[in-house]
């Protein structure tokens, strides 16, 4: 039957190439999306999921073309609505591995409402947000993550609206898994995607993605290879928050604030530093981390938050099972005759 899942042992050994389609990839040369596509294709064979049970769903935007290049089931839908289609699919077919591919405009502007609600419901899907802080497909207008004052085609005198922090939004919307990766850091991205797949619930992964045409170098101040170790910090569960070329810097609490300190200076030791706890139920520290921006802070990368909470699709299936166990499977004749009935006899 079509809905039967193949066991892991029955799944043929696949490689990245099995997930490549015959469609020509049409992103601009040099676009960060190529790397995201490559890492996504790379992690697929190792997920332990049959290819036919993987579905990629997207909205509208450059990033949303990605499903055409994934040799899985795919659905390139309408602007901002991918989470809704993914929700209906996952709720009705919980055994599928459902991935949403979206961008900063798609997810946070036109589709903002759906992002909030899919996260609070904790639908067991993965959301990959390609954040390039610009509208690329429509050729260069500012997005809801563009920095204040940014000059673009639609803001020649600079923007006057404050940007959203995608991960702050996700944490505020009760997200159970929140992570950040960088298009040029393949290894970390693969780790984030694998973790996102393993997590039960909505996994929200923001990928800083360079748009070399309309917003080139948006992340280079902290993401460029030569400065990255000094200007970003990779979060590791259970480990003190240390960064820097020589791993000489760290983060600690000072009152309600996080501050950057140098290890060995003013008596600071490793034991003074914040220890990353992605499983902390209280979202406060994760939220503070999501607010950290270069140059005041190193930019956090990796998994911010990974907490356990029942999934919507799981609860929905459970509720159905419980009702059927308690009341038996429904018979039409029985609900047809609810309430008062009467018989009209033949004359």
């Amino acid at each position: 039957m079509v809905t039967a899942q193949r066991n892991a042992s029955e799944i043929p050994v696949l490689t990245r190439k099995d997930f490549v389609t015959d469609q020509e990839v049409r992103w601009c040369p040099g676009c960060g999306d190529y790397s995201i596509l490559a890492q996504t294709q790379k992690v697929m064979p190792d997920l332990g999921v049959a290819k036919e049970n993987i579905v990629f769903i997207s909205g509208i935007g450059c990033s949303s073309r990605l499903p055409y290049y994934m040799n899985t089931f795919g659905f390139h839908s309408i602007h901002g609505r991918a989470p809704t289609i993914a929700s209906g699919l996952k709720a009705s077919r919980p055994e599928l591995s459902v991935w949403v591919v979206t961008g900063d405009g798609d997810a946070l502007s036109i589709g903002g409402n759906h992002i909030l609600h899919v996260l609070r419901r904790n639908m067991d899907i993965q959301i990959i947000l390609h954040n390039n802080e610009i509208y690329g497909l429509t050729k260069g207008q500012y997005s809801p993550t563009s920095e204040l004052g940014k000059r673009t085609k639609s803001s020649p005198y600079g923007t006057i609206d404050a940007p959203l922090h995608p991960l702050s939004v996700a944490i505020g919307a009760e997200a159970t898994f929140v992570a950040r990766a960088l298009d040029t850091d393949a290894q970390l991205m693969v780790q984030c995607l694998e973790r996102a797949h393993k997590h039960r619930g909505t996994s929200f992964v923001e990928v800083y993605q360079n748009c070399n045409i309309f917003n080139d170098g948006a992340f280079k101040d902290f993401a460029a290879k030569e400065v990255r170790s000094d200007r970003t910090i990779v979060l590791e569960h259970g480990k003190p928050m240390i960064f820097g070329k020589e791993r000489e810097k760290g983060l600690r609490f000072n009152g309600m604030r996080i501050e950057v300190v140098e290890i060995g200076v003013d008596g600071v030791t490793e034991s003074d530093l914040l220890v990353h706890d992605e499983e902390r139920d209280d979202p406060t520290v994760a939220f503070l981390l999501s607010r950290m921006e270069w140059p005041e802070y190193p930019v956090p990368m990796g998994v911010f938050r990974a907490v356990k909470r029942p999934t919507y699709d799981g609860l929905m299936a459970k509720q159905l099972e419980e009702v059927i166990a308690a009341e038996g499977e429904g018979e039409l004749s029985e609900i047809f005759l609810e309430g008062d009935t009467w018989t009209v006899e033949a004359e």
């Binding site: 193949r6 089931f73 309408i78 209906g88 996952k90 759906h114 159905l320 038996g328 018989t343």
Partner: protein, 621 residues
């Protein structure tokens, strides 16, 4: 009395029993007075007694309008008859007004000579002022044209309940039962059905259960013993088609139809919806039926509701969404997506008066053109419209049959009058209903996402989880056969025409429209949707008077029944009553070049039989 005729009269003790063939009662009171409940109970009892029935609730827009105020008036009209009836009656024969506001907002519908029962206790200065009466209408002679019965319902009710142990407020809540009891006596109805219902509803709360029973009986005995009422009435059983019946509203019937379609197709039903009047009842109904594998998803908005339904359909479920006019507007873009990806999908629209928020609790047929054309691009969908409350069941199944066979969105166009109104439903034998084959694609060797069935032009339904059928769909134009993205001009032209042709081919599966009356000549009164009842009744009456008038009703709006053009050409004149400004008439005139005349009104209410009869008289003399 109104539409009723006195068939025979007989004596029963000192009070006369008059036999009638049809009576219409309207219960009207404050929204806290329990009028919907009284009306529903009267309906049940009449149905069980074997009358044909038809009901129409009139619910205020405000949930808790100030007590005693004009906007707070709630009404429920029930018509019961010894004949087949198709409408809840034009005008009530009896108006039960529980307070001055109810009298003020309903008296204009009561014909001269009609029976008026008022709760005179409520006609105090405060309530008269709230209803903007300068003088007490009970005393100023303004009600002289009616047969007025002043009953101190509150006083009598409270006296009957003085030993009930209830608080004053609780006792007062029982007065609807007193009024109901009085009507039961007046129309010779037994109390058993309602007594049984009270026991089921309040059984655990003994004091309340007993008080409601006492109030009901007190109203009944008041009628029996008082000399105020000279006559009571009897409406014999109707000669309905033999079988098992229940009373059902259109929204309930639609919900059952959708579940039935799911059973017939062997695929689970998924209902994505955002609460909206008057469609929410369908969500409430379906949410109860988890043991049928029904999944209901209360979405964050109308768009998410249809998006989730499309996702469910992509996965092989029966993805359904339901709404009313403003919600249909919000779903437009997603309906266009469903047209492009050619997946089965049903969109229920329980129409209300528009535009914009309009009048949510009032009925209208003005979303037809929105359903037909309210999307960007050439974006055809199939549309069906139930004719009666119980027909909502049939057309819900029919909508799914079309959606699955042709892999297309189908709009199910009901309205507030059908959705909230009720009538007896001859319970169908589900074994007699034909199965619906989802016919999923499974063969990876031959699979092409946009290859078409040569007969229906439907594309394969290839659901995730099927090995070898991995493919991509989306809103961008599809290349014929492969379904790859295509900007090729010739391909776009071809695909637009294929999608249109596919919907046209649905007509292969649509029954011909049937004319009731003469098969040609004279006047044809043509209708769609909820006007069926009034048109049928008005035409029957006109024919009884010897007028050359026929009636035809169609339930498939797009595509139309294949013989409709031929039928229209056979009559000298065609009249089309619609609760809009002539939307279907415009489409038919354009398509068939027939000079159809319109009868149109948009006051939030269904047509009265008299309105259609008058127009018929005007056209055929």
């Amino acid at each position: 009395m109104g539409s009723a005729t006195a068939a025979e009269s007989q004596s029963s003790g000192q009070q006369e029993v008059l036999e009638l063939d049809r009576v219409t009662i309207r219960f009207a009171g404050d929204s806290g007075d329990g009028m919907q409940l009284a009306g529903t109970q009267f309906t049940k009892t009449s149905a069980v007694l074997g009358n044909d029935i038809s009901t129409f609730p009139d619910i205020p827009a405000e949930i808790r309008a100030p007590q005693g105020s004009l906007p707070g008036v709630s009404g429920f009209q029930v018509s019961f008859s010894s004949q087949d009836i198709y409408t809840p009656g034009d005008q009530p024969d009896v108006l039960v007004a529980m307070n001055p506001a109810a009298l003020k907002t309903n008296i204009m519908d009561l014909p001269r000579g009609g029976l008026l029962v008022v709760n005179e206790d409520e006609f105090n200065d405060t309530n008269l002022k709230k209803a903007a009466y300068a003088a007490n209408p009970l005393d100023d002679g303004s009600l002289q044209p009616y047969r007025l019965y002043r009953v101190p319902i509150s006083t009598l009710n409270n006296r009957a309940l003085k030993d009930s142990g209830l608080t004053a407020v609780q006792m007062d809540r029982c007065k609807n039962m007193f009024a109901l009891g009085l009507m039961f006596w007046m129309y010779s109805r037994p109390l058993e059905t309602t007594l049984h219902w009270i026991e089921e509803k309040f059984g655990k709360n003994r004091d309340v259960a007993e008080a409601n029973k006492t109030a009901l009986k007190a109203g009944y005995y008041f009628g029996e013993t008082t000399e105020a009422f000279a006559t009571h009435y009897h409406v014999p059983k109707a000669k309905l088609k033999p079988g098992l019946y229940r009373n059902i509203t259109g929204n309930e019937a639609a919900a059952l139809g959708f579940i039935t379609a799911s059973k017939l197709a062997g695929r689970p039903l998924f209902y994505g919806s955002y609460p909206i009047t008057p469609a929410s009842d369908v969500l409430h109904e379906l949410a109860r039926f988890k043991r049928f594998g029904v999944k209901t998803f209360q979405a964050e908005d109308e768009i998410a509701a249809i998006g989730a339904a499309i996702g469910a359909s992509f996965g092989g479920s029966l993805g359904l969404t339901g709404t009313s006019g403003p919600g249909l507007a919000l779903k437009s873009e997603a309906i266009g997506l469903a047209v492009m990806v050619e997946l089965p999908l049903v969109i229920m629209n329980v129409q209300r008066a528009g535009p914009s928020t309009g009048m949510p609790t009032k009925t209208e047929q003005a979303d037809l053109l929105q359903a037909m054309f309210g999307r960007n691009g050439e974006s055809p969908v199939a549309i069906v419209a139930p004719a009666t409350a119980s027909d909502c069941f049939n057309m819900a199944v029919e909508a799914w049959r079309i959606a699955i066979k042709y892999r297309t969105p189908v709009i199910f166009l009901s309205d507030g009058y059908l959705g909230m109104g009720s009538e007896p439903w001859l319970v169908p034998d589900t074994n007699a209903l034909p199965r619906i084959d989802p016919d999923f694609a499974t063969d990876a060797e031959t699979f092409q996402p946009y290859a078409r069935n040569p007969e229906t032009l439907a594309r394969p339904w290839a659901i995730p989880g099927t090995p070898g059928l991995e493919h991509r769909i989306g809103g961008l134009e599809k290349a014929d056969i492969t379904g790859n993205v295509s900007y090729d001009p010739a391909n776009h032209d071809k695909m637009v025409r294929l999608r249109a042709e596919k919907i046209e081919r649905v007509a292969q599966d649509i029954p011909d429209v049937i004319v009731e009356g003469d098969q040609s000549g004279g006047l044809l009164v043509l209708g769609w949707g909820s006007t069926y009842g009034v048109i049928t009744t008005a035409v029957q009456r006109a024919r009884a008077e010897g007028k050359k008038v026929s009636a035809a009703h169609f339930r498939h709006l797009n595509p139309l029944p294949p013989n409709l053009g031929d039928v229209l050409a056979r009559y000298d004149k065609v009249l089309m009553p619609e609760i809009n400004l002539g939307q279907m008439r415009m489409l038919l005139r354009a398509k068939f070049l027939v000079d159809i005349q319109g009868l149109n009104k948009v006051n939030g209410r269904p047509f009265t039989i008299a309105e259609v009869e008058n127009k018929i008289s005007e056209m055929v003399g």
